[in-house]
């Protein structure tokens, strides 16, 4: 990956910084205590970790209106990278437990910086091929019947580094960290559209953000009238500005670029608008001079988060734990292999598996000290099976640039070091 000459390579602008952080990061669940990570956000260098008195012998701190995380966890939280107005951060997946992504660690991708929007003057416009064009204040929207649903949001380019520039030192954060799994609260888009009355001939919606990039995407009406949410809250509180405060669109199972933040306008139309982000970007090059357009759905995928790089194992029991998700519906099954794909066992699943949600899988494993390769494979309720690397390359070509979902493998070396393997056939 040389100069940032490729349009879609913009998603990687924040990567170099993230990589530095990822490499110096200790993992709490591994053998060593967490080491302070190199600061990547341009902030002050991390403080050395304090030596604490025995907690039963000193009075604790007074409560504070918001609760900061432990100083021992803060370094891991500071590895997301970026600091760019057009760029991405990466959620440190390997530090999460359960299924929900902590709000302040959710990945962010902006096209013109983080817009600051005043909810008192905010309005959402619905117009175009509708019976009556309407505008809604945020108070209007909050008066609608609400829904709270857990959905993953994944960047279409998630996994690009692991595919196009793989390295053994990649962490889960840098491999698949453009993934959030969030409980969104809001109103169903179809309810808001029903107020305006969409005309029968309208078959697409143009959705537009109120940020500096005035981000636009075309969304098929069928999806808009299905399960989309205009969300004002994430994980129980108002969206943070970085995630679209005061309102964002959530398009379950579709590439995250459709989930327009700071959404201000929805226009009912005939045909797609061919915006820059659906023609220049988010079009997938395929062999034979073809490119897939409007490739919305995120394919089924999984990744083992523990063990993963940079952990070092010693022989003994290690639960294999990770996340699995599919844009086509529920996760039907996650298979785990501890012998490089020769044999597979079904993992147990945790968390709400309500469709287009990320679930946690776990598989008990005892490492005998011999070098091996760990893999996970997601099968979704439609029967779709997460492909091997070889199958993926055969279908998409090496030059493809979005929707990367080949099986992720981790090599455990004789010394216990865990490293990423993109192509197990040459590893």
């Amino acid at each position: 990956m040389s100069a940032p000459v490729h349009p879609s390579r913009r998603d990687l602008f924040g990567l170099a910084a993230g990589l530095v952080g990822g490499l110096t990061l200790g993992v709490a669940s591994a053998t060593s205590p967490p080491a302070p990570a190199a600061s990547t956000g341009g902030g002050p260098p991390p403080e050395p970790l304090p030596k604490l008195p025995e907690a039963t012998r000193v009075i604790g701190q007074a409560s504070t209106p918001t609760s900061p995380r432990s100083v021992f966890e803060e370094a891991a939280a500071q590895t997301a990278g970026s600091g760019k107005v057009s760029g991405t951060t990466f959620a440190p997946l390997q530090h999460f437990s359960g299924t929900l992504t902590p709000t302040d660690l959710q990945f962010q991708r902006h096209h013109g910086g983080i817009a600051q929007v005043d909810p008192r003057s905010y309005q959402l416009l619905i117009h175009g091929l509708v019976d009556k064009p309407l505008r809604f204040t945020i108070d209007d929207l909050r008066r609608f019947p609400s829904v709270s649903r857990v959905h993953f949001i994944e960047c279409a380019g998630n996994g690009r580094k692991a595919y196009r520039a793989p390295a053994p030192e990649l962490t889960p954060q840098l491999i698949d960290g453009q993934l959030n799994n969030v409980e969104f609260t809001g109103v169903e888009l179809k309810r808001v559209l029903a107020e305006a009355g969409v005309k029968a001939e309208a078959d697409w919606l143009l959705v537009e953000g109120g940020d500096a990039s005035v981000m636009t995407r075309s969304l098929p009406m069928k999806k808009g009238l299905d399960d989309c949410i205009l969300a004002w809250a994430s994980n129980g509180e108002a969206l943070r500005p970085a995630h679209g405060y005061p309102l964002r669109l959530v398009v379950p199972g579709y590439e995250a670029n459709l989930c327009v933040k700071w959404i201000r306008r929805i226009e009912a139309k005939i045909g797609p608008s061919m915006t820059r982000d659906e023609t220049a970007d988010y079009t997938d090059p395929l062999p034979g001079d073809k490119a897939r357009q409007f490739s919305f759905v995120m394919d089924a995928k999984s990744i083992i988060l523990s063990p993963s790089h940079p952990m070092t194992l010693r022989p003994g029991f290690w639960p294999i734990s990770g996340l699995a998700w599919s844009g086509r519906g529920k996760v039907a099954r996650v298979d785990v292999s501890t012998d490089g794909g020769k044999t597979w066992a079904e993992a147990s699943l945790q968390g709400a598996n309500t469709g287009m949600t990320a679930v946690r899988f776990e598989h008990p494993w005892t490492w005998d000290g011999a070098p091996t390769l760990l893999m996970s494979r997601c099968v979704d309720e439609t029967g779709y099976v997460q492909p091997t690397y070889a199958e993926f390359v055969a279908a998409r070509g090496l030059g493809t640039d979005y929707h990367f979902n080949p099986i992720r493998s981790w090599r455990v070396a004789a010394d216990g070091a865990v490293r990423f393997v993109a192509n197990p056939e040459v590893a």
């Binding site: 990956m1 040389s2 100069a3 940032p4 000459v5 490729h6 349009p7 913009r10 107005v85 057009s86 096209h111 013109g112 416009l125 117009h127 309407l134 505008r135 809604f136 209007d140 929207l141 008066r143 609608f144 196009r164 808001v192 029903a194 107020e195 537009e208 500096a212 990039s213 005035v214 201000r264 306008r265 226009e267 139309k269 045909g271 608008s273 061919m274 915006t275 820059r276 023609t279 220049a280 079009t283 997938d284 090059p285 395929l286 062999p287 001079d289 073809k290 490119a291 897939r292 357009q293 490739s295 759905v297 394919d299 439609t382 779709y384 099976v385 070509g397 090496l398 030059g399 979902n405």
Partner: protein
């Protein structure tokens, strides 16, 4: 003990349990109000007579409850949108260019405006903080290998109208929305020219721009991944 509790199915005894649990909940609440005594006003307590009722399917001891109510589909929320608001925000230009505004801009004028783009896109559109804007080649071979082909206006963009739409809404990134329609036409004309798509005399306007033949030789195909069970 808990097993014993489960085997008791007699309504009267169940009501006693409900009353017991209710009173425990009242005592055990952690409703500290800052004064530290937790002795706020008690929530209204259900009279014991009510606790023995119970509708079909409802937990024993509660009065009948109506079914879950589905909200109506139309609620009368929102206000009519002012045509001025629609006019101000409805700035998108589709592939046929029907929405293109009046005005025009020539290649030479665009060249004069381009210096405000150089900081991020380079003096010759070679890219920098922002993506590469000029690059008529290669035209083919994108999906085949890790060649790291830049996808540009010259070799990938499929519609000239998209360029006008995008520059007008989003560029220059540090001052979005600052370009007039004529300036946007001019910069569009200049970038098309730099990519070898129009000659130096080209003037972009609502009629000429949609007719520009783009340089992309990659064919966009619809998504055919659905319903195969395997990677496509």
């Amino acid at each position: 003990m808990s097993r014993a509790r489960i085997t008791i199915s007699h309504g009267g005894i169940a009501a006693v349990w409900v009353a017991l649990i209710l009173s425990l909940a009242l005592i055990g609440g952690c409703g500290g109000d800052g004064q530290g005594d937790g002795r706020g006003a008690s929530p209204p307590q259900r009279p014991p007579s009510e606790a023995t009722a119970g509708a079909a399917g409802a937990p024993a001891g509660l009065p009948p409850v109506g079914a879950v109510v589905a909200p109506p589909t139309q609620l009368g929320l929102g206000s009519p949108a002012d045509p001025a608001l629609i006019a101000a925000w409805d700035i998108d230009v589709g592939p046929e260019g029907k929405e293109l505004p009046p005005g025009q801009g020539a290649v030479a004028e665009g060249q004069g405006l381009y210096p405000q783009c150089i900081a991020c896109h380079g003096p010759n559109g070679e890219g920098g903080i922002g993506p590469q804007l000029v690059g008529p080649t290669p035209k083919t071979g994108f999906g085949d290998d890790f060649k790291d082909h830049p996808r540009t206006i010259g070799n990938w963009w499929a519609y000239p109208t998209t360029l006008f739409d995008y520059i007008r809404r989003a560029m220059p990134q540090h001052a979005p929305g600052s370009l007039t329609d004529a300036q946007t036409y001019a910069l569009t004309a200049y970038l098309l020219h730099k990519n070898g798509l129009v000659d130096a005399a080209f003037v972009a306007d609502a009629q000429s721009l949609p007719k520009v033949k783009m340089g992309n030789q990659v064919q966009f195909v619809p998504d055919d991944r659905e319903g195969h069970g395997r990677v496509r």
